[in-house]
Amino acid sequence: MAKATFRIWRGDAKGGDFRDYPTEIGEGMVVLDAVHNIQAEQANDLAVRWNCKAGKCGSCSAEINGMPKLMCMTRLSEIDVTQPVTIQPMQAFPKIRDLVTDVSWNFRVKKTIKPFKARPADAADGTWHVESEDIERPQEFRKCIECFLCQDVCHVIRDHGMTEEFVGPRFLVYAAALEMNPIDAEDRVDDLKKKHGIGYCNITKCCTKVCPEHITITDNAIIPLKERVADRFYDPVKRLFRVFTGS
């Protein structure tokens, strides 16, 4: 079997450093396999989040050679293993230990977005009539596994730390899924502008590039939401209307 070295960040909120772990690698292995081997053989206390190991739960997010990825879906065959492979925790979030970060902010943000509110049912048995083509978009957004890689890479959060002002791409996608759900009757457009900081996104599409579910975050979710905001707040006729009605 071949060997490769994994340079893993070890530490906690107070600080830490990279340590090298050589381990055996085999065909078809993913980065998470190597981390597990190291954990079992050399570092029992190496902290890492993971669950499904199949790209479905979004737990094992990390930065591999600087790229935000799911460790369970990154095959060793797609990275250069002749050099030490660096693995570090997501940099946009506070560190807890080793590869585990404090992502609790995301859970708090989600609560600030108005929940789903069903419109009255179409049929007497309480069901709705919905066409397949009307749910393509929300279904795309609902593929999201909440790995928070998009949040990690978003420069508004990562570089500017604007977590009070901006909800980040994940929650714009969440809002978009709700807004475009044909059964939903809630209105989130005001919040998007005033509370959720949609204007801070300047559509650099970094989020879209790292999404492991290949959700077209910027084009399909954020831009249409920006258009709804623009439509309401910057359409001259509607602005005038608001002046008169005071809304």
């Binding site: 906690d12 085999g26 065909e27 078809g28 292995m29 993913v30 396999d33 954990q39 079992a40 053989e41 029992n44 206390d45 190496l46 902290a47 890492v48 989040r49 993971w50 669950n51 499904c52 190991k53 199949a54 790209g55 479905k56 739960c57 979004g58 737990s59 879906m73 095959r75 807890i96 230990r97 080793d98 585990v100 992502v103 609790s104 859970f107 989600k110 609560k111 929940p115 789903f116 069903a118 048995d125 309480g126 069901t127 709705w128 009539h129 919905v130 066409e131 397949s132 749910i135 929300p138 279904q139 609902r142 593929k143 596994i145 909440e146 899924a177 709700l178 759900n181 059964i183 939903d184």
Partner: protein, 611 residues
């Protein structure tokens, strides 16, 4: 850092729910709706539970695709699939209530695939007579957990993420709360509660090849057992016929039955569709005679019968094992599952497959560099589900310990000897709701039990023991090796094909591993220390493994997920009871045969009518 029981932080709720997958979330939502203060404890972050892995759909006789369907047919299908050792009351309630639970999910924001006339689409699945599974592509579990999560976070439920419960606390006979720790800091925690709902899922991590995540260490099974509740049907472990087999690092990852529901076929190395060779008598009348008829069934032809690939999971898994054993397997020890062939039947097959099975396409592309729209997959059986679990009352989900409830995979009864695909997600909803309702009622009708300091102190000492042992020197063994050896042992000796000799050897092996597990030590500190977490999981895995092995030895026949090569036939004498594991006064596991209550006449008639 708390150094004694009295300094440990205590949280108080009417109802504590342990586990935040589909059943736990649904229970928490219901208990909260009933006015109870609810604490929801989960080992992972919220929304990451194993429910996300469910792919195919949730079974509910809504009749949106075939209006001949009804709860009665669903009930009969569930009983037949379970080989009639199911808790018939649970099978009845499940079939009756599942449609309302699915519709409720839509009312909370789930976005299901649609029929042409705008209703919730339902798909075919193994053992279900009619297309019955409401679904979202092949990521139905994710849709379900996200819907429950996004609804649940607005219901006033206190969520304790990344907390593990290590023991239940009792006041006399009744439950009084739970003891555990938070994984992030490693602090002990006490949860005082009027009622506790276990929703901890299964035991798949006791086996080497499994579709289950690290969380599936049988915590709830073990907690209940230690607290004096009955475990039932533990010999019935479901090996899903189609897990990935290559490359090695992904071995066991699930390949949804939906592939076969959409027309995928199983072939051996001779290119033969071997499932046509072995159709059990009780399914002959419902199974297609020819590949042509089978194909028409998958495409919605109501006059066609289902292809043999959609026979029950226990049967399909054994047929695959037979092909491999007899030298007709695929290069890496599985068989071929081919969906690409449908290009002979429909235009734009590649696009169709990607639309219907997006996760599968993605999973094979990324993990095996294989394009399922052009090539067959290699698949083989993987440990998937445990039908056995905590014995509960069918209506209330309460165990034999007052105030202790169980719902979802950790509870036994609904599925009997073999679970039908799609009946799990609906199980979570139907019985999660019932458990939440009953637990809230139980907690409100009586004052909470008293916590006993000695119990808390005992739990605290057990919690910290792995560090103490390491600190005491003599460099004790780490936990991982013990876990791996247990997984190897269970896989090889209590797996898909069982016999008494192997299982007796397994029991001896488990006994030795128990002794080693009691001595493992861990280094590092308490903050997010996976070695420590694994050391604490070991006793649970060992308890569950012992229960599986002992129950499987006791059932000297083959039925559903339990196959004995030394007793290959089903034996009517064994159809009349369930096997119970209970902790004896001496601390040893006792095995008991418990007669199945006589089925109600009206239900018996439904079964007869649907034979």
């Amino acid at each position: 850092m708390p150094s004694s029981a009295s300094e440990i932080q205590t949280h108080q709720h009417d109802v504590i729910v342990i586990g935040a997958g589909g059943a736990g979330l649904r229970a928490a939502i219901e208990a909260s709706a009933a006015g109870a203060s609810v604490g929801l404890i989960c080992k992972s972050l919220l929304g990451k539970a194993h429910t996300v892995m469910a792919e195919g759909g949730m079974a509910a006789a809504m009749g949106n695709v075939d209006d001949r369907d009804s709860w009665k047919v669903h009930f009969a299908d569930t009983m037949r699939g379970g080989q009639y050792v199911n808790n018939w009351r649970m099978a009845e309630l499940h079939a009756q209530e599942a449609p309302a639970r699915v519709r409720e999910l839509e009312a909370w924001g789930a976005v299901f695939d649609r029929t042409k006339d705008g209703k919730i689409l339902q798909r075919n699945f193994g053992g279900h007579r009619y297309p019955r599974l409401a679904h979202v592509g092949d990521r139905t579990g994710l849709e379900m957990i996200r819907t429950l999560q996004d609804h649940g976070i607005h219901q006033g439920i206190q969520v304790y993420m990344e907390h593990t419960v290590t023991s239940l606390l009792k006041d006399g006979d009744r439950i009084a709360g739970a003891f555990g720790y938070d994984r992030e800091r490693g602090y002990p925690r006490v949860f005082r509660a009027g009622a506790v709902v276990l929703a901890t899922g299964g035991i798949g991590r006791a086996f080497k090849i499994t579709s289950n995540s690290w969380e599936y260490t049988g915590d709830g099974h073990s907690l209940a057992y230690q607290a004096g509740a009955d475990l039932m049907d533990m010999e019935f472990v479901q090996f899903h016929p189609t897990g990935m087999v290559w490359p090695p690092s992904v071995r066991g990852i699930l390949v949804t039955e939906g592939v076969r529901g959409e027309g995928g076929v199983l072939r051996n190395s001779d290119g033969k569709r071997f499932m046509f060779d072995d159709i059990p008598d009780n399914y002959k009348a419902q199974t297609a005679d020819s590949p042509e008829e089978g194909w028409r069934y998958t495409q919605g032809d109501k006059s066609a019968r289902r292809p043999p690939e959609l026979l029950t999971r226990d049967h399909v898994a054994r047929c695959i094992m037979r092909e491999v054993r007899d030298g007709r397997g695929s290069p890496h020890g599985g068989v071929f599952l081919d969906i690409a062939w449908i290009k002979e039947k429909i235009p734009n097959a590649a696009e169709h497959i990607k639309k219907k099975l997006p996760s599968m396409y993605h999973q094979f592309m990324q993990l095996a560099e294989l394009d399922i729209t052009t090539e067959p997959m290699e698949v083989g059986p993987t440990t998937h589900y445990v039908m056995g679990g905590v014995r509960v009352d069918g209506d209330t989900q309460m165990s034999t310990v007052p105030g202790l409830f169980a719902a979802g995979e950790v509870a036994a009864g609904l599925h009997g000897a073999n679970r039908l695909g799609g009946n799990s997600l609906s199980d979570l909803l139907v019985f999660g709701k019932r458990a939440g309702e009953s637990a809230a009622k139980f907690a409100k009708e009586r004052a909470a039990g008293q916590l006993r300091a000695d119990q808390v102190e005992a739990a605290r000492l057990i919690l910290l023991a792995p560090f103490e042992r390491a600190a005491a020197g003599a460099s004790p063994e780490g936990p991982y090796k013990v876990q791996y050896e247990l997984q190897d042992l269970m896989q090889s000796k209590v797996g898909i094909v069982r016999n008494e000799k192997d299982m007796m050897a397994a029991l001896e092996g488990i006994e030795m591993l128990k002794q080693r597990a009691a001595k493992v030590g861990v280094g590092g500190n308490r903050e997010y220390n996976p070695g420590w977490h694994t050391a604490l999981d070991l006793p649970n895995l060992l308890t569950c493994s012992e229960a599986v092995a002992r129950s499987a030895i006791e059932r000297r026949e083959s039925r559903g997920g339990h196959f004995r090569e030394d007793f290959e036939k089903k034996d009517q004498n064994f159809a009349t009871f369930n096997i119970i594991c209970r902790r004896g006064p001496d601390g040893r596991m006792q095995i008991q045969r418990r007669p199945i209550p006589e089925i109600r006449d009206d239900l018996k008639q439904i079964i007869e009518e649907n034979k």
